[in-house]
Amino acid sequence: MQSLIQARELKKMFGTRQNPVHALGPVDFEISKGSFTIIIGRSGSGKSTLLNLLCGLDTPTSGELTVGSDSIYKYNPNKMAAYRAKIGIVFQAYHLLPNLNVRENVLLGAWAGDTKVDENRADELLKMLGLEHRLTANVKTLSGGEKQRVAIARSLLINPEVLFCDEPTGALDSESEQQVINILLDLHKKGQTIVMVTHNPDFIPLADQVIHLKDGIITK
């Protein structure tokens, strides 16, 4: 498969120069287009730090990340924002805006990055995810599973090049967890590149590629 993302010597330190805290790396890996990659590790292993670097939400201390043909850490802030507008991110804590209703939260996926989309697609996605009856509902009234499905719809609205998921089932009951995993598997079947961070080893058989992290280092 065609390589989409290449990480080279990616390293992230927190803290001060005098008291540095090693969070990640250096790590090297590749992610292929259309693959389902799982980044797995215990709490504190650096998996969320790695995902933040992949999503362009944070910058590494050193190393390079190439997406397509561009080294994204060379981007200026506006170009980095444009990169984030092209990818989809699903968070464990959903990160929906409580002041907006379900449909508006989904549309925010396009509004925030000023991406042109047919707004009817928001309705189609919500229908596909079984939320067509909650279009104008306040997100505060939704269950955890419903909130995560809204977040997935938001990330899919722009037809993202890659869908990054940070513990998407971490806050869900088992029924909702299964629903979300089924949705992701469906998307993967349709060719969507997915990178999912999890600490749950049950999901390993679902992935094309697994990156095991321990203390910030890839172990397998």
Partner: protein
């Protein structure tokens, strides 16, 4: 970020935090209220006063003088020399052709008349003249003269020799009777003037009762006229020096007496409700032919055509043309001055000064509120870190985040302005309603004011005031919101979302 998103996020934010928005903008509202109310009231008072003054005949009158040589003169340059020469109706006719806004003109001069009470035979003139030389007579003689004078004569009247048209153009509604043709044996009389001596002498109850009455008049002082081209060198604001120069000219024009002449009251000026400016314009008015009579009596060997006056009053066709006319004749031989215009300028300056003083208090309130706005905006940024992170994660640029908070701070300014302006307008009209009730509760005051065209008082909120306070409010809050907005824009999305 799409403008739809800006609008939705901002509107939901306002809806949710309306109380905080109102509180945060209250300082701005108080400042705007103070500035708008005080300016609105002082502008209202100023325009009411100026409109009242402009209803008076004197508002359209300009005093003009002629200089020996064309020169630009600042009439407020006290102490500067003015070399004035006399001029007459021929000069005014030429001026009127050049400046058609001059609707009428009259010399600034008067003659003194002694008027005999009806049905009396007595030489009032002689007694009046003897009275002037009281120092060479015994007190008893003087007392006897005064007694006789009072019994037989009406006080000496200073009669304007104005053109009748100028008077009509001033305030036609105050004229009772027909004065379209004022012959050389007709006068216009005042009604309530001279302590009511005229109306009492004829037992008149209404101004019209005086029309057609005949009065016996003698000239006791003629018009002040000097040979054309000759004049006086005066100092602007020269006081005693100027008075002496003018007295000298006046002394040369004095006459001692004239024969009694019977004149008919052709019209009456209704001065019953005249205020200060009104009474100033009311008096006896005699036809210009009286000038010739008085001049010939005083100067039997001279030709009046070779004589003129040091000043004329011209009536301008509209109040709004007064100032432009004065400016137009600047730098020519003629100098124009309007006492009313000077008063209006002084009133405007006074109220503008008053407004500025009150506006300072409003500005202090606005400045004090800025710290509150900064605080509220910083809290808002802190509270909404997650929102900032989400928007950035979804592709919002730093600039979009800055704009989102910047617009929010601008909204605080608009809200403060709207609240302050609304309350100021309501308070302004409330105060004016109370003032109007108080004014109307006193019929005498109400009648006097209506004589000046004032029927009610209302505040005036000009467009520049509303625009100015809006700019001030928005500028204040956006300046206050700049640092918090910039801080919001600089947030690292990973950090703020990790803090959740």
């Amino acid at each position: 970020m799409k403008s739809t998103a800006f609008a939705i996020i901002l509107s939901r934010q306002i809806k949710q935090k309306l109380a905080r928005f109102i509180l945060a903008s209250s300082g701005i509202a108080v400042g705007v209220w103070a500035i708008t109310l005080t300016t609105g009231l002082s502008q209202g008072a100023s325009s009411t006063l100026i409109n009242a003054i402009n209803t008076q005949p004197a508002a359209r009158e300009v005093s003009i003088s002629k200089q020996k040589e064309a020169k630009k003169v600042n009439i407020f340059d006290f102490g500067a020399n003015l070399n004035l020469v006399s001029f007459n109706d021929n000069d005014l006719q030429k001026l009127q052709q050049k400046y058609p806004e001059i609707s009428a003109y009259n010399p600034n001069s008067s003659i003194d008349l002694s008027i005999l009470r009806p049905d009396k035979t007595f030489d009032c003139t002689k007694v009046a003249l003897r009275g002037d030389k009281a120092d060479i007579r015994t007190p008893d003689q003087v007392s006897a003269d005064i007694t006789e004078y009072g019994k037989n004569c009406i006080s000496t009247v200073s009669a304007h020799i104005r053109d009748v048209n100028l008077f009509i153009s001033g305030n036609k509604s105050k004229i009772v009777g027909d004065i379209t043709t004022l012959s050389d044996t007709q006068v216009i009389s005042c009604f309530s003037c001279l302590g009511g001596e005229i109306k009492d002498a004829f037992g008149a109850k209404e101004p019209k009762d005086l029309i057609g009455k005949q009065i016996s008049v003698s000239l006791t002082r003629g018009p002040t006229m000097i040979e054309l081209g000759k004049g006086a060198e005066l100092q602007i604001g020269g006081g005693e020096q100027a008075s002496k120069a003018l007295n000298k000219i006046e002394a040369e024009s004095n006459i001692t007496t004239s024969n009694v002449k019977i004149m008919t009251i052709a019209a009456v000026y209704d001065d019953r409700d005249a205020g200060f400016f009104g009474s100033f314009n009311t008096n006896f008015i005699v036809p210009t032919t009286e000038v010739s009579r008085a001049f010939t009596l005083a100067n039997p060997d001279k030709n009046i055509a070779n004589y003129g006056y040091l000043g004329y009053t011209v009536a301008i066709n509209s109040v709004k043309n007064v100032d432009p006319f004065i400016k137009k004749i600047e730098g020519t031989q003629y100098i124009g001055a309007s006492a009313v215009l000077s008063i209006i300028q002084a009133i405007t300056a006074f109220f503008n000064g008053l407004t500025a003083v009150f506006a300072v208090f409003g500005l202090i309130a606005v400045i004090a509120s800025l710290f509150g706005i900064i605080n509220v905006m910083l809290i808002s940024v802190l509270e909404r870190q997650k929102e900032i992170g989400i928007l950035k994660a979804l592709g919002a640029t730093n600039n979009s985040i800055f704009r989102l908070f910047f617009i929010e701070s601008a909204f605080l300014g608009v809200l403060g302005w709207l609240t302050g302006t609304l309350i100021a307008v309501l308070t302004g009209y409330g105060i004016s309603a109370i003032v109007n009730v108080l004014l109307r509760s006193n019929p005498d005051v109400a009648q006097t004011l209506s004589g000046f065209g004032v029927t009610s008082f209302a505040p005036y909120f000009p467009w520049w005031l509303l625009l100015g306070t809006l700019v001030l409010s928005v500028l204040s809050t956006t300046i206050s919101g700049f640092v918090p907005s910039a801080r919001a824009a600089r947030q690292n999305p990973a950090e703020v979302m990790r803090s959740e």
